[in-house]
Subunit: 336 residues, 2 copies
Amino acid sequence: MGLNLAIAGVTGAVGQEFLRLIEQRNFKFDSLKMLASSRSAGKKIDFLGKQYTVEELTKDSFKGVDIALFSAGGGRSKEFAQAVVDSGAVMIDNSSAFRMDKDVPLVVPEVNPEAIKQHKGIIANPNCSTIIAVVPVFPLHKAKTLKRMVVSTYQAASGAGVSAMMELENQSRDVLAGKEVKPQVFPYQIAFNLFCHNSPLKENGYNEEEMKMLHETHKIFSCESIGITCTCVRVPVMRAHSESINLEFEQSITPDEVREILKDAPGVTLLDDFSNNRFPMPIDADGKDDVYVGHIRQDESIPDNKGINIWICGDQIRKGAALNALQIAETMIKNQ
Amino acid sequence: MGLNLAIAGVTGAVGQEFLRLIEQRNFKFDSLKMLASSRSAGKKIDFLGKQYTVEELTKDSFKGVDIALFSAGGGRSKEFAQAVVDSGAVMIDNSSAFRMDKDVPLVVPEVNPEAIKQHKGIIANPNCSTIIAVVPVFPLHKAKTLKRMVVSTYQAASGAGVSAMMELENQSRDVLAGKEVKPQVFPYQIAFNLFCHNSPLKENGYNEEEMKMLHETHKIFSCESIGITCTCVRVPVMRAHSESINLEFEQSITPDEVREILKDAPGVTLLDDFSNNRFPMPIDADGKDDVYVGHIRQDESIPDNKGINIWICGDQIRKGAALNALQIAETMIKNQ
């Protein structure tokens, strides 16, 4: 049986990563529609020995499509969701549009693949910093019951798209040349600087990125009782996010137990070399599938060995977006 | 009465900042000895309309000296401490050599100026990331009794000296030019990358920088019961450290109370503009005296309003090193 695939937002950073991953993972399809805004329509893309023409994303784009991978912004996801569902396709949506909708499963295949079955035409891909955190934290939660999590992120420019990555590059050149910096994509200088995440602030003072970590983790873990607090920060790094994660469990857990649990955990690579002070770095995770985990330590400020600090890096475009969405598609196909 | 001053390590990043601060703060002295290793001896430095010749740091350097500001590395501090004390001078030491020595006060003038009086010839300047954290945290501790603190740092290259700042600059040029990166000062690529702090690892898995935050804060606050856990990270930023600090207090405290306490706190500038998503950035703190504090939020994962998140930036060379040491000297002189 053949699969008819569509990619909405194919010319973006995540869209382009979809193509690389489809090739690398030998993801089988019968037909592929490359969709984007009218601005990119008509563009030619060579892929797997064939030339594709980018078509304009319209409500008629999904006739005969089985799976539509969406990474075209929340506005477009909302605009076209009904058309996708009405055409009988399943939308796997990378935006935040439907993540907290109770009828939409929010899925990280290493954590809650069973949620996929409950979809009503839309499956949501979580936010990048959430995905990267939950891949290593979930197996620890399963083993020792997570009570509270304090996260500080070090987020790459790629989360704001190709233009943000270009801005980091060009602005760095300008700073090195002693030229004045004129932020255009980010609100503030990103070269040799960092700032609290530029997503809109909520009434409680947290930015949306910080609240996504809380609400999405609760939904993915099906557990609202876990205390989660988060500080999200943009750093001058190209495409891998890092996170400093402090964990408190209901049961005792040692760093050796953490390593034992994570060494076989799906989607995790342990990089925890204390003899060489060698722990995950963004350039390790760059272009890689796994979330890298290291610098695992007992948090001695929590009694009875119930506290752990971990340090993680994961590729924002790959596992933080395109790969996770494609894994959702793969899991769905396998379960059919 | 005249003050005879010596600066050991005058050619380094902190040594040079001492000179700028002495001028800016109109710090009065009668005589000034500029000391450095034999490598720099003989170098001429123009300062306040006079030409100084850098002298080699030897055990005879301190005759007639009243205060010796040391920033020449822990090894030299240890080597010359006895000679400084024997000569009757007071050593204000920027290295980690004597910080945890029970006979040596460890001082941040905004926090524990009274400790200065107990010196026996040596006063220690805390580690940069500790100083920057305690300036805003201490007034909150005084008001609401700190129970536990979870810190993640974003530390600038300057903490590793002038050569590290040069490496960040040159390596960034290389990356932008597509050239291979060859780390020399830092163990790993710093341009467009970040890594767990490069200080030696302790038996418990924490690096020295992380343990300094714990032990030094306990000593400065004269309170060993506060739980402190820390993850220290180097980021591609030039000279201001940032820190994401999660605080748990014994008593309830709201973000408004935090702002009320910090708005008049010595050494603190509030930059907490939620309407413009404008919080402290390294480039704000660069070259400034104060620690900038913002993005103040209630941590709702701690019951009864006892949790707070803050985000801070402070100049590593200035308040993190030279300024704090000079403020110790100023306080000492004022109290005489």
